[in-house]
């Protein structure tokens, strides 16, 4: 029996052995509470500070701009709700393809008197530039556009969007959890273009679950989501998750070191994957757009996505039929809907997201398993007709 | 809190701890601070001929920096005239001990202790000083 092959790195990644090794002492010998003033506490504080510097360095930010949170969802909630709490209700513009942890807080604000503008995307999942310009004309106070989409892997031209948003005086946030380690993410450069906040998460880049950061231009005033004790410059209270934060720091370091070579290798694998998929008659989503080197999102006409991933799992290949969080949801992906994909085709959507450990053999194996599965499923469909 | 080597030295080996006998000749006492604030310094000077401070002793209730600041001034005032002692400024104390900003008040308190001790001396010995 072969170990199953993991091709769902956009959902989560294994922690790198170096990450785990760095974390373990902070569970045992250096277990102190970073707020304690004795040596156990100071050791923990030093570790948190060091990790903060590493995270900052990985995304081109200053350490004091890094606010640790328990995860990407919390960081996104903190920015959207926290910034809104310091403003009078107005227009809030978020892309229609955001992760639910941006969309849902935005919808919450809508209930509290904000006007929610869902920014449209084109058929390839890119923000529609002319409609974006129109939306900016409505003078939003907060704009949130993800850097790379978790389902399609499509990368937005944030520099350009931020330049346009800047004239409105809006706070511009980007969820970059899927982008870090795969493409260059440089907060200083983005900040200069008008991006004010950015979310990065550990478990998407070979770090542990339970640690993430909101990178924040200090001009943004935020109301904390979690009060009590005043940790993280008062923006996020609660005892620091030292071990996970340490792991996050190391993961960031590795992600930056490996990025260029990894991207090159994954691009090649992705090319092989896409070649094989076309051979199976697959439709590839977001094809014309710039995409993350690791992500392929496709559908095979008349093959149900849920069914396909179930068969692939039994064949030893772990892929997703949509974003992990909404996988239980039988509705077709809101991302594909926003791209104007027909519901029937959207229901066939399958996401393959490659990672550090994947090899050409695994991709080849996946393709033959897919071909066999599709042939069987299509045969079944044909018989049923 | 990271303490400087000099603070640690004065804290571990405070100089001139103690009190003079109440009736000793030329002794004056400055007591500054309040328990509720977390520091009380008692500085005693023993003034000899010509207003020269021959000896000094202290007791301090307070943090390490407060103890170090008062220990240091007992060394500094010895051999000075009372007027020279008044020239000791809190910034000199803070510099010498490399006090962090949150501990500057300790050096201010030590300066105040000198002033209080000298004032006490002048009050008790006004005629001698006026000469």
């Amino acid at each position: 029996m072969f170990a199953p092959v993991y091709l769902d790195h956009n959902a989560s990644t294994p922690a790198d052995p170096a990450v785990v090794e760095a974390m373990l002492p902070y569970l045992s010998a250096h277990f102190g509470n970073a707020s304690s003033r004795h040596e156990y506490g100071r050791a923990a504080r030093r570790a948190v500070d060091e990790a903060r510097s590493k995270v900052a360095a990985a995304v081109g930010a200053h350490p004091t701009e890094v606010i640790f949170t328990s995860g990407g969802s919390e960081a996104n909630n903190l920015l959207i709700k926290g910034a809104a709490a310091c403003l009078k209700p107005g227009v809030l513009a978020v892309s229609a393809i955001e992760h639910p942890c941006v969309l849902k807080p935005a919808e919450q604000l809508e209930r509290r008197g904000w006007t929610l503008d869902r920014l449209a995307v084109d058929a390839d999942g890119r923000i529609d530039a002319s409609r974006f310009a129109v939306a900016m004309g409505r003078k939003p106070k907060i704009v949130s556009v993800m850097l790379a989409n978790n389902e399609t892997g499509v990368v937005q031209d944030l520099g350009l969007l931020a330049e346009r948003a800047r004239l409105t005086g809006a706070w511009f946030h980007t969820d970059a959890v899927q982008a870090v380690g795969k493409i260059v993410v440089d907060f200083r450069r983005l900040n200069a273009a008008g991006v004010h906040a950015l979310t990065v998460s550990a478990h998407k880049i070979g770090g542990p679950k339970g640690a993430a950061a909101l990178v924040l231009d200090k001009r943004i005033e935020l109301e904390p989501l979690i009060a009590g004790g005043g940790h993280e410059r008062g923006l996020r209270s609660g005892t620091e998750n030292v071990a996970a934060i340490v792991g996050f720091g190391v993961a960031c370091e590795l992600a930056v070191q490996r990025r260029a070579a990894l991207a090159q290798r994954l691009l090649k694998l992705r090319g092989e994957l896409e070649h094989g998929l076309r051979g199976c008659g697959a439709t590839l989503f977001g094809q014309a757009a710039e995409r993350l080197p690791n992500t392929v999102y496709f559908a095979i006409p008349d093959v149900d996505g849920e069914t396909l991933v179930g068969h692939l799992d039994r064949a030893g290949y772990a892929v997703a039929s949509g974003a992990a969080c909404s996988s239980a949801n039988p509705e077709p992906s809101h991302v594909l809907r926003a791209m104007g994909v027909a519901p029937d085709l959207a229901r066939g959507a399958v996401r393959v997201s490659l990672g550090y450990g994947n090899t050409a053999e695994q991709v080849a194996g996946f393709l033959s398993a897919l071909q066999a599965t599709v042939a069987r499923l299509q045969g079944l469909t044909a018989m049923a007709v | 809190m990271a303490y400087s080597i000099k603070v640690l030295d004065h804290y571990e080996n405070p100089r001139n701890v103690g009190s003079f006998g109440k009736e000793e000749e030329g002794v004056a006492t400055g007591m500054v601070g309040a328990p509720a604030c977390g520091d009380v310094m008692k500085l005693q000077i023993k003034v000899g001929k010509g207003g020269v401070i021959e000896d000094a002793k202290f007791k301090t209730y307070g943090c390490g920096s407060a103890i170090a600041s008062s220990s240091l001034v007992t060394e500094w005032v010895k051999g000075k005239t009372i007027d020279q002692a008044l020239d000791i400024k809190n910034t000199q104390i803070a510099d010498e001990l490399a006090l962090p900003p949150v501990k500057i008040h300790c050096s201010i308190l030590a300066e105040d202790a000198i002033k209080a001790a000298v004032a006490d001396y002048k009050k008790k010995h006004s005629e001698q000083v006026s000469v």
């Binding site: 003033r37 995860g71 542990p208 005892t239 996970a244 | 303490y3 309040a34």
Partner: protein
């Protein structure tokens, strides 16, 4: 040879028990799936581990696993409980009641609710640190919607009368939240018997990892909350965000061990605590803060009169202890908990919290006793206050030069 500094600060945090760490590691490395991934075995394996841990947490407090909601820690649980309940019940009333000695996670959240238009009563405690039930009853109003009282105080370890408060709240239809971060593994918690509606838990105070906690949300009668973190609808919509499997597994194992071992462990710790108290009681002018009987065996909070707190900590740097709670000890403010007990500032300043735990040894306690004897003596030699008291001066009559 003793490992130094000697850790006597188990209420700030605890090391992860090695048995807990061993269970966690596989969920970082090979079993790393996202528990929300429904399309493959990696996800199911992670989800199964999350559910097993949920059962363990529920079992320690005699609750139904469906009543356990994962959070990032007790601070988040407290925020979710208070804001979630108050916001959900805002139509019914605007008044909350809590206690002045609560953790900052409760007090700061209450301050925020006040800014949102709620009214909060902060009750005084008696000088033994316990809530007076008559005072409590008198504070309740027809528009009181939520009461929050901690089970065990983090600084002085006293155990509040949770059962009695629960009865009073239930009879009046008021939602009752309890911060139990310091209680798990130390006192028996039976949520089938206690009339508690919401209870906050932490893993890292009970030999589990940091970054994970839980909120108990009663199902019968059903308690409803306004979610504070939105997204993928995890945790039945109460709390969105990817579940940190390894941390959850760690909390489950830590709580399982607590359930199995707390009986024997607490007796051993009580013996050590009593040894410490006895060893210190021959020093003049030491005062125990908080009731000694209605208190967890792990805690001893003592004021050493006429020595200053920070210099005391410096003198006993071979002991890792805290003065005031960990979260506030960066500031020079005397502990607000001790002030609420009516301790004057000097005694509050010179208080030390010793909290013992699973790995505390008799040898460590004996070392601590000897060290304290030496250092308190030395600091009192340095203390002008001690000198004055020895000379018979009543310090309360002294006019201090303000500065």
């Amino acid at each position: 040879m003793l490992k130094q500094p000697i850790y006597l600060d188990y209420s700030a945090t605890t090391p992860v028990d090695v048995r807990v760490a061993e269970k966690m590691i596989p969920y970082l490395v090979e079993k790393f799936g996202n528990p929300a991934s429904r399309s493959h075995a990696f996800g199911w394996e992670a989800e199964a581990a999350v559910e097993e841990a949920r059962e363990e947490v529920a079992r320690l407090v005699n609750a139904d696993p469906k009543e356990i909601v994962w959070t990032s820690g007790a601070t988040e649980s407290n925020n979710l409980a208070l804001k979630g309940a108050a916001q959900f019940l805002a139509g019914k009333g605007k008044h909350l009641v809590t206690v002045k000695t609560e953790h900052k996670a409760i007090l700061d959240t209450c301050r925020e609710l006040e800014r949102q238009g709620f009214e909060v009563t902060y009750l005084d405690v008696r000088d033994d640190g316990l809530l007076d039930l008559e005072v409590f009853k008198a504070a309740l109003r027809p528009d009181t919607i939520v009461v929050s009282v901690m089970f065990v105080n983090n600084e002085i370890g006293v155990i509040q009368p949770i059962a009695e408060i629960g009865d009073i709240c239930r009879a009046r239809g008021i939602l009752f939240h309890v911060d139990a971060a310091q209680a798990t593994g130390k006192v028996v918690i039976d949520l089938a018997a206690l009339k508690v509606d919401l209870m906050s838990f932490s893993a890292h105070k009970t030999y589990g990892p940091k970054g994970i906690g839980a909120l108990y949300v009663r199902r019968k009668p059903r308690v409803r909350l306004t979610a504070q973190m939105h997204g993928g609808g995890h945790e039945r919509g109460f709390r969105s965000g990817t579940l940190a499997t390894h941390q959850i597994v760690g909390m489950g194992e830590a709580y399982r061990l607590a359930r199995l071992e707390m009986g024997a462990e607490n007796e051993r710790i009580r013996m050590l605590r009593d040894r410490l108290l006895k060893g210190l009681s021959d020093i003049d002018e030491v005062y125990v803060n908080g009731d000694l009987e209605r208190r967890v065996p792990h805690n001893l909070n003592i004021s050493f009169a006429y020595v200053e707190g920070e210099s005391l900590l410096m003198a006993i740097k071979d002991l890792a202890v805290s003065s005031g709670s960990a979260c506030t000890s960066a500031s020079l403010e005397p502990s607000y908990v001790l002030r609420a007990l009516g301790r004057e500032d000097e005694l509050a300043h010179s208080s030390i919290r010793f909290t013992l735990g699973r790995f505390t040894t008799e040898e460590e306690i004996d070392y601590a006793i000897k060290l304290l004897h030496d250092k308190i003596g030395r600091l009192r030699e340095l203390s002008p206050l001690w000198e004055m008291v020895q000379e018979g001066v009543d310090l309360s009559t002294v006019q201090w030069a303000a500065h």
